[in-house]
Point group: D2
Chain length 358, copies 4
């Protein structure tokens, strides 16, 4: 895998900086004769788009996607699909201050140390703006997967406040600004995030993404494991610090009796009586829901003044003005869904290549 | 990445089944003129070797490694290094029962569903025995990294019992059967695991691996992130269900003020006043300790009888006899260290290739 | 390697069809802090650009390149460089006839058989128009290689008429429409190609590309051989049917005494008394000129009527009108140079990664 | 692709030196439930095995292959197949002379310059002995391809003496020591090679490999072209200096009318009236025979004394004693067949992954 490319057979290469003329990507390996046009992609971009509530950055970007190749008369041709999204509301002057100061929690220092140069405007390539291209690629991946596979994401924790799983309602997650499946938690979060936002601070979150309908057998031992690929995919999203599958870190506290999911037959098909595995055993899908959770750190751009240093090694302070999300975890929900879709589309083809000739 | 290969420039390909004649691997991309012989690798294999205490499987394997190529007169030649470990104590007859029954929590069902065939003896390719090859490869990776980079792992939680970080002593982790850095916890775990073992059950664990001395700049945006590669590497280890970096899942509950590590100058060098980032920002090493934790589920092979089905779809029960670890998390410590070493060796070369011509 | 991507560390992904809105590509892995702007790329595109003489297609394309990312204030940042070239003079109506008929010698039939769909306008993705992006990528590769490595290409045979190597003058190759280093041959070819062009036919050619200054040691055994990578790179150019290195096919007729290049010392440095090897031994550069030749078949689009079939399996005839090169080999010269540059830039970094820490 | 690995989905990694304890390889990605045992592989190794006539090296190696993993009860399991071949007749003392002198035409100088160290015994990793592993992998590839695809190779030129295609008889190629399909040429070559052998010199050759039954559609634009992959595969064989497809270099001298293969319908199926394309158009198989030729240089190890230098830069002479093939091109025939099989098996799976869901 190259540094700005992910996937093996369903391959996505992205490019672009926060304040450059545009961002985009190339999706290669898409099977031919799939119905595809911009209208299939735009709704997912709209879901991630900033400025839709007071809880996300106020940068105004229509995020209109343009397909530049690989589609002819409304169908994929099997050749690479180039996707373009223009940047419209870049205000580079907001970033003059960070030209010479490293923002704590951001990758300013590490990019500079690695490359000796960086496009500091809006964070340049480090910006979460790049995730729009992932969402567009994810929309194409969903078309490959078809309607039998359903991928849904939800915010399940903001700060230390978790949803009550007894209240879980997927439809609810489309009705509030947080993609929260628990209306009671959503109400609490409104209050919490207003307070955070007004205080000029930020807060972390946990996202859960669930894929239903994934056929048993997808995935591969040992270094192409479905869960290992999902872990890398989620960890590659900006600000993510942890990933878990099924029972996840909680599995450490379980006994073998509690953890191992028992099997029964149901209508002539193998089934499990629980899903601590999160739908993956030995790196291969079990046919149950594939369940991934990932943790997003609090937005590093905050109004409070923080200790830092300059490029030339002087101690100083910085308070980030610009426009930022009080909780970047919210917009990470559609991004996590997209990464799940991309990983699954890749594994669909990888499985078909080796093991599906029956 | 191919399914049984990991790494980009430092590339490891493994092969072999639990009860086949041998297991082994090929390590490609190793720089030339590094002093290397079997004695550099054996100590790490010995650390992972089974049968060293009553808390690990009683299978007796010397795990003696043989270098078959790529080394001449005690130095690496730059050509592929083939590593061979003979299997000696395979008792395949213990596994007659699982030929037709799927063990809950194991990958028996998924391998069979994917391939329509499997070597069921000792779990075949699914067996954690394969991790011996990772440890051998990790030993070579350590030689590439040199002595300035130090990689150490520890068991930090067994079941729901965590170490007290106030008691942390790396030296202690070499003195007990659990790689536990807290002698007080180690004493508790002896009791706990004896109880688990005698009860025929098993328990999960959490491992922490720390790499010190990693230079600022290693890693790469956006799909070659150091933390994303670490997440995939750890998640590819048998039984791992979660991976986190630095503050990890705990970051969700932090505010932006608490989480973002501030910077100061120390003896003319940039430094941080905390390490919530776990040594990685934007996928690139900060120069601080790289800190990874991963969760291992309880061993799925337990003595209690469990509901399951047969290959032909009949409901039945199974109790796994064989020889097993009451807590596979213990022997995952040297495996996690090895994966850290392999990922870092790969990134050393990836960084040198693109960005180190200064 | 993915299907529309080449290179390992210097990686180029291309997209676009002959009559789509644009063509382009993403160049990933470029080292940081290299001076780069459009003016570094444009001259090479101009060299390949159609419509510059009566011996190439009359399609008028300015082939103006736009850098969309990866460059900041005139320097590369180490992040992916997106390149865009607008299509301007697409006349899709010329191609109505090939919508349903397969043109002999073209990939119409094979694309249709593979994908069940194709963008037939101007050949779609099969069009040699894609090679413009290779030339742009090659210009970036040249910047990485620096001025000590010089890459030059020449047309050495048109039809069955070869240059006289006694007349070889590199400067001459910039003065005629054929990139021909022999002015006497160039004069003959003017006459030959006028005849071919007026007759509505076409003719093949052989191109030679020479890289001087390549350091001894670049390349790698056994499946990353410099010559194997060059062979794939040249064979991937449209219409290429053969590739050879150094003595090439002629080596078959040599004796061991004639073929093996002897070595001497010259000014304290190892040197060779001949270069039958073409600068590569065992897949690794010798420090001599790297010499590659490749054969281009005659343009398949000709005015004469030819037997073919339709998509629905009816026998028919076709004569290709459109606008075409009487000898596509001419414009393959800058494309071959670009592929040489890309392969070398990749090997520079691959070598540095593994073997250049001395 | 890593340096010692080839293929994308059908992936082969090889290791080992000429005079090490063994050579071997790992074949990954093989579909499950294919009947496979050593007897399927051994005949192909026997075909390549040295010492079978006076025209190949007299080194005596049984080249007995051992399958170490990936096969259970006579069937592939979908997991990696490790192949081992012991070295038996290594006489390292023959090579004391080359420890410090570079043999002209060999890779002694380039390996040393690249790595600063090399296993000089028998050429170490540069030795054509490694090609035995390719042949073993090719045998597995043939099993994947099945009996509908037939791959055959022949020696078509020795020195400057070519076969008469009018005499071509595939069965004949199994009856003589040269894999020559023309009995008249075979008789001439016996005389020619006896003379070369007695004179202590060597001679080059050209090999043709033909694959029949390859389905239309395999292959992929633009950097996964079937012919580009074949070019790299053949060029990666020791001593190969040129590769061509179909009309190859001869295509340069053809007119468009002569070269483009016309199409007709035959029994309801598309067919071509000629095969200048060599079975590949636009990188995709046409359904015709895939025809590849490659040129092998004369063996560089010859008895005549040649000018060379030492590692320390002193001018000297060398005459290679050891045991060598007077024409390495002969044993390159089964190696070329194996590489064709490997490339096709890889493309079978690559095609199935993306385009075969119909």
């Amino acid at each position: 895998m190259s540094h700005n490319t992910y996937g093996h057979l369903f391959r996505v290469t992205t490019w672009g900086e926060s304040h450059g003329p545009a961002i985009g990507g190339v999706v290669d390996g898409v099977p031919p004769r799939i119905d595809l046009n911009e209208a299939d992609i735009q709704p997912w971009l709209d879901k991630r788009r900033p400025g839709q509530s007071r809880f996300t950055t106020q940068r105004q970007e229509p995020d209109t996607v343009e397909i530049q190749s690989g589609v002819f008369e409304g169908q994929t041709t099997g050749t690479p699909i180039s996707l373009l999204i223009q940047n419209q509301d870049a205000r580079s002057k907001d970033y003059g201050d960070i030209k010479d100061k490293y923002r704590p929690g951001h990758a300013d220092y590490t990019y500079d140390a690695k490359y000796g140069i960086r496009d500091y405007r809006g964070g340049g390539r480090q910006s979460a703006r790049e995730t729009a291209v992932r969402v567009a690629a994810g929309a194409i991946a969903r078309k490959i997967l078809g309607s039998d596979i359903r991928i849904r994401g939800a915010l399940v924790q903001v700060g230390s406040d978790s949803v009550d799983r007894g209240n879980w309602d997927w439809d609810e997650s489309d009705r509030n600004a947080f993609f929260c499946p628990d209306p009671v938690a959503a109400a609490r979060w409104t209050e919490l995030l207003d307070k955070v936002r007004k205080g000029g601070s930020s807060v972390g979150a946990i996202i859960e993404v669930v894929a239903s309908g994934v056929p048993v057998g997808w995935g591969a031992p040992l270094y192409g494991k479905l869960d290992a690929d999902l872990a890398a995919a989620m960890m590659s999203i900006n600000a993510v610090k942890g990933v878990e599958i099924g029972a996840g870190f909680g599995a450490a506290a379980l006994s073998g009796n509690e953890n191992a999911d028992e099997m029964r037959m149901e209508n002539g098909h193998p089934t499990f009586t629980s899903n601590h595995a999160g739908g993956v055993l030995g790196g291969i899908a079990t046919g149950q829901d594939v369940v991934v959770r990932f943790a997003v750190k609090p937005t590093s751009s905050i109004l409070s003044s923080r200790d830092t240093i300059t490029r030339t090694g002087e101690e100083t302070e910085i308070a980030t003005k610009g426009r930022h999300d009080p909780c970047v975890g919210i917009r990470a929900v559609p991004v996590g869904e997209a990464m799940m879709a991309c990983v699954l589309a890749d594994h669909l083809m990888r499985h078909r290549a080796q093991a599906d000739e029956r």
